[in-house]
Each structure stands twice: as C-alpha cells, then as structure tokens.
Symmetry: C2
Subunit: 79 residues, 2 copies
C-alpha cells in the first residue's frame, strides 16, 4: 500500500482534478489523503517542504510532486 497526499484549496480546478484523480487511481492499492489547505492552514508548510508550488498537487510516495493543472499558487493560498 503506497501513500499519496492530494493538496488542494477548494477551487474549481482543484475539485475537478480531485474527482478525476480519485476516479483513476486504484485506491485499494494506493491510499490517498486529501488535504484542503484553506481549512487546514497548519499543513501549508508541510506541502511547501514537499515541493508543492501550486494546487492542486499530488505528492506521491517516493517524493515526486505531480502538479495537476493550475488552481492557485501556494503563495496565494498562504495569504
């Protein structure tokens, strides 16, 4: 079981990507934690350290960051 984290900020681009990703990925083999950075602001620094530059983004086990489309920059989420 691998573990990925999907960071988003509730924007329409984020929600659309979340829907697509959760539908495509085999969640019986790949656990995905969904983190809304707008409501869980204490996790913004964690996302930043993982290399997230914009949301939505999927940080996969092994450390790669997949920035999927562009909803908002992490700088904008911080404001």
């Amino acid at each position: 079981m691998t573990k990925s984290v999907f960071y988003h900020a509730g924007c329409p681009v984020c929600i659309s990507a979340e829907h697509d990703i959760l539908r495509l990925i085999n969640t019986s083999e790949h656990a995905i934690e969904v983190v809304h950075l707008g409501t869980h602001r204490q996790r913004i620094s964690e996302a930043e350290k993982a290399g997230v530059k914009s949301v939505p983004a999927l940080v996969i086990d092994g450390g790669n960051v997949l920035h999927i489309n562009f909803g908002a920059s992490l700088e904008d989420v911080k404001k």
Copy 2:
C-alpha cells in the same frame, strides 16, 4: 473500462510523469494509451483539439485534460 490518452514528448519531465501515472492508475480498469508526439507528429492536432496545451498531459474519458507538471508547450513540440 475507460480510456485515457497520455501525451508526451520524451522529455525528462514527461518520462517521470509517465512512470508515476502508470504506477498509480489502475490499468486493469483504465486503459491508458501512451502517445509520443515527437515521434507521432501526425497526432499533435488531435492532442490540440482535445485541449492539450503542454506535455505531459493526460486526456481522460469524459474529455477533461490533466496537465501534469510542465515539460514543454505544445507550440514547442510543433516546431
């Protein structure tokens, strides 16, 4: 069985994203066709019509385009 098309152009960002996507997605339920636009240039217009602006990109059934990270713009691939 749904059908998605992963367009790329052979760049390092493309190859890395392809590896991640193929590992995460349940390919027993979601067929993924991988198209290298550098070697299959006749399919560039198809990608453009599907809404691909840059590669790597995954066009999923239903029509949504997931632009995953940024390897090259489609304009650059056309050159």
